[in-house]
């Protein structure tokens, strides 16, 4: 066998994620007065087919962190297993110490980058929020290990459609009510313009008191605009 053929066979037999299968769309996270708020819809897309409608894409991690994911759902669930293991082994020291959001974010960063180095990526964009010792933390990691912290973050389409809104309207001392309103405004824009977004979403909150993830709910929408109901009206060459 020639070496070129050897390479091809290798790729055929490989167990790498060369492209994602079931994916979730944008996650948005923001800091607000008492902590971090995060939101994501519950859709799981199989290509352009809406395959799952009740995927929980935000999970609490340890005592002080909240993780949201877009991208390959199975890879996200594998990441959750990694984190459960990490936290279990840390808890077994029973020394009263626990990982804060900064540590979890750093760990995720290393996992994502390590897997990209093996050309076997975890196909996700992750958002990690948390509060520990009165410190708010919000960061993100991509599939290839690019990571940063900011006052507001969003993955995928959210970076194009939600972050401009957040850059306009976000404030450090946003109340809970106003912060939820702001997130819903962003999710509504995404719902209208992101084809794979669905109108069933959750909002998750993390403060010094802990994590609460809301029940699924939907946003009020208005499709009555003329251009929505009759999009081709007036366009040349259409009827």
């Amino acid at each position: 066998m020639t070496s070129v053929e050897g390479l091809l066979v290798c790729e055929q037999d490989s167990q790498r994620t060369l492209s994602p299968y079931v994916t979730g769309t944008s996650v948005i996270g923001i800091k607000y007065k008492d902590g971090i708020l995060m939101t994501a819809d519950m859709g799981g897309s199989y290509g352009s087919t809406l395959r799952y409608k009740s995927v929980e894409r935000m999970k609490s991690i340890g005592k002080h962190s909240l993780l949201g994911a877009s991208g390959e759902i199975s890879d996200f669930q594998e990441i959750l297993r990694y984190l459960d293991e990490l936290i279990k082994y840390d808890d077994m020291w029973d020394d009263g110490n626990s990982f804060g959001p900064k540590e979890i974010h750093n760990y995720l960063t290393r996992i994502m980058y390590n897997r990209r180095n093996k050309f076997d990526p975890l196909w996700n964009s992750l958002v990690l929020g948390g509060v520990k010792n009165g410190q708010k933390y919000l960061g993100t990691v991509s599939m290839i290990g690019v990571h940063f912290e900011d006052n507001h973050v969003a993955t995928g389409f959210g970076n194009h459609l939600a972050r401009p809104i957040l850059r306009d309207e976000w404030k450090e001392d946003l109340s809970y009510e106003d912060a939820v309103k702001l997130l819903e405004k962003c999710m509504r824009v995404l719902l209208y313009r992101d084809r794979s977004a669905i109108n069933k979403l959750q909002v998750a909150k993390i403060t010094e008191e802990g994590v609460t993830i809301s029940q699924p709910y939907s946003l009020k929408t208005f499709w009555g605009f003329n251009a929505f109901q009759n999009p081709s009206k007036g366009a040349e060459g259409t009827w």
């Binding site: 991509s142 290839i144 290990g145 940063f148 912290e149």
Partner: protein, 219 residues
């Protein structure tokens, strides 16, 4: 269909200028991908030793990995030698570290700046696979094509072919160098979409390290 690519270009521009008794290291704080801005406040400057700073642009995940390798190697060095690594030593270490990954490179464009063991300003400039050179000033990253010729014009370093060799340090005063850095960044931000938001300027001299920030275009 979406295909996996292990690299991204997150943009950014780095500049360093060496003077007789100071060194100015600067980089913008914008991090981008494609036409999107990821964040407007990401520091590209990493303090490796008391008098040695590294400014890097390129692929942020590789840059961060590189910084971690250098920091941990420096920690070991301190335990073994009970002193901080000199800037020229760090320069050689960075070159070796980059070349170690010659066939799966760190996509990182570095400028290393600081003071050498005599307290003179020094700048080392690199390519992604570790070729390097000690110079009097340098620029790397997405805005380097706009900045480098301006630095050449303003700082005219002596030819490296001269015998006996002349010092590459620039004749400018510290505050003149800082002003020049501000100007070149403001200019680069006009034309390079990957440069903007803010410049972080670090000045190293005998007194220690000082930081300055100036705002740039945010569009």
């Amino acid at each position: 269909m979406a295909r996996f690519s292990p690299y991204d270009n997150n943009g950014g521009t780095c500049v360093a200028i060496a003077g007789a008794d100071y060194c100015v290291i600067a980089a913008d704080t914008r991090m981008s991908t494609g036409y999107s801005i990821l964040t407007r406040d990401y520091s590209k400057i990493c303090k490796l030793a008391d008098k040695c700073l590294l400014a890097s642009s390129g692929f942020q995940a590789d840059v961060r990995a590189l910084q971690k390798v250098l920091s941990s190697r420096h920690l070991v060095y301190q335990h073994q030698h009970n002193k901080q690594m000199s800037c020229p030593a760090m320069g050689q270490l960075l070159s070796n570290t980059l070349y170690y990954k010659r066939f799966f490179p760190y996509y990182a464009f570095n400028v290393l700046g600081g003071l050498d063991s005599e307290g003179k300003g020094c700048v080392f400039t690199y390519d992604a696979v570790g070729s390097y050179e000690r110079v009097g000033y340098s620029s790397q990253g997405s805005g380097s094509t706009l900045i480098m010729p301006v630095l050449d014009n303003q700082l005219k370093s002596p030819s490296p072919l001269l015998l006996p060799a002349k010092d590459a340090v620039t004749p400018l005063l510290e505050n003149e160098a800082v002003d020049l850095v501000k100007d070149v960044f403001a200019s680069a931000a006009e034309r390079d979409i990957y440069t903007g938001d803010r410049v972080e300027i670090v000045i190293v001299n005998a007194e220690g390290i000082r930081r300055e920030y100036i705002e740039l275009r945010k569009d």
